[in-house]
Amino acid sequence: MKLPLLLLAVFTGSLLAEEMPLPRWLDGEREQAIKDGWIAGDQILNHGLAADPELEMSLLDSLKPVDVAPPTPEDLAESDAPLDPVPNEFLDAYFENRPTQFLIDPQGLLNADESASQLGFLKYHAGDSAIDLFVYVFGKIQEIPSEVRSEEFVERLFSTGRPAAVVFYYLGDPQRSEMALSPELSGKIALPEQRRAMESSVLKTMAKDDPAAQLKAFTMQMSIRLYWMERTLEGNFTPATPAVAEVSPVPEKPVSARVVLEENVVKFLKDWGPVAGCVLFVAIGVLVLAIHWRRRAQFVFADLDAEPRLGASHAAGVGAVISFASANLPPARQRDQMPDYLRRA
């Protein structure tokens, strides 16, 4: 019962809204209202703004840009402060070999929880994406030695294996971050696209204050951008190896078929060794029992009554006679079939 009435009200309301004209002052009404001293909605409808110069001025003042304090000398000093090179003892850990983890932080700039959380996300990304994301973490005021060029570094270490995006991330100063793609990707993804990915990821860090949270936001956004890169490249390339949660170190020398075979055998044994061992043990047991049973088996013959022959009470089964006089003749040629009386003659 209520629903039709409600629908009717809505319908008529909408019709009235469309057709009803806006209210207008009738002749003399506005002047009469001014005389009375108050006009309803005047402030809202801004009809009386010109009449109140103070209010007008305050509104105009609020629209003026706020004066920002100029940077202090300390700020300027900080921004121009010279950067410290990455300590020499960590250079090998950073740049010597292809990393075995997706998060490379030999200096321990992230604490254990942050590191584990970040690494977990990067592993998840690697399992979900065809492009691995490697994040090298450096300090806020650190700089990479000049002899390490990101493109050359990536080409040297990431030319084999799965496609990868490598990010040099400065903890607390994400604007200085750099990204390079492995050779397999760099030729296929345009530089503007790479730059946009970086900018978008850096922009995400702006909303966070904590350096670790900034890194998290950065990697999440970068993961999303890599996903879209992967989508655009879909069909143009296939990953060299299936996605794995953990990156295996890439050997410097080409892997021989024998090594691959050995690895497969070791993997098989690791996976199926216990099961195969049990099956083998049972099979050998059964085999041993069968052999033992056959060895212990006894054979009997039915005792069929035989009539004696040639006056012999026990035996008349005369078998073959073989001679072993000559080594030059085969046994078949030395089978003696000669009757006794011929021999005697």
């Binding site: 009997v300 039915a302 040639l310 073989i322």
Partner: protein, 220 residues
């Protein structure tokens, strides 16, 4: 079945060889009618070395374990120029008394390997129990297994190989006999004598004569 002397085929119930008239009495005349006491391994010719003797005895014992009804015996000896190894083996298995063979196992269940190093010949003789299960071809194949060893003078090796091979043949025959006993029973049935044959024919005729023919029935 062949006659030990003339090597001609004889039927299963022949009291003497129909070809040469050979009987055990002839062999007794040549070798003696008395019982000969010997062991399962009698190396009268001294062919088997002391170290090998245990191996041969072990092979014979193993054979006995697999075939509790049977025994395998080996005799080596020089028979001289005039003796025939086939007749000798036949005679020895009938006249031999094997001291180390259980009394409940008669010579009918025996297999005798006879080796004559002088004439460089060997033969196998077997008792009536094995008549349906062994034939000359089986014994020849077993002897062939030992041939190469005996040529080199390794008598023990040859004997062990021979025993193993013959045991394999007998195991096979035992399984066959278990599956299809009739096959061996038929093989063992003695051939019908002429008298039986005539009797059968006559009885057959009588049966047919006793039954009225269709023409007789019609006449009635």
């Amino acid at each position: 079945m062949k006659c030990p002397r003339c090597v001609q085929q004889i039927h299963r119930a022949a009291e003497s060889c129909p070809h040469c008239g050979f009987t055990l009495a002839d062999a007794d005349f040549a070798f003696g009618a008395e019982e000969v006491r010997l062991r399962r391994l009698t190396d009268a010719a001294g062919l088997i070395r002391r170290g090998d003797r245990a191996r041969v005895e072990a092979a014979l014992a193993k054979f006995s374990r697999s075939f509790p009804q049977l025994f395998f015996a080996v005799y080596t000896g020089s028979l001289g120029e005039v003796a025939n190894i086939r007749q000798f083996g036949f005679w020895l298995l009938n006249r031999g008394a094997f001291e180390d063979v259980p009394v409940e196992i008669p010579n009918e269940a025996g297999i005798l390997l006879t080796i004559d190093p002088e004439s460089k010949a060997a033969t196998i003789t077997f008792g009536y129990l094995l008549d349906p299960y062994l034939d000359q071809a089986d014994t020849f194949l077993s002897l062939s297994r030992a041939h190469a060893h005996w040529l080199e003078g390794k008598y023990a090796d040859g004997i062990v190989r021979l025993v193993d091979h013959l045991a394999g043949v007998l195991k096979k025959r035992s399984r066959q006999a278990r599956r299809d006993p009739e096959r061996f029973e038929k093989k063992h049935q003695p051939a019908a004598s002429k008298r039986d044959l005539i009797k059968k024919i006559r009885s057959g005729h009588q049966t047919s004569n006793s039954r009225p023919s269709k023409s007789q029935e019609v006449a009635r």
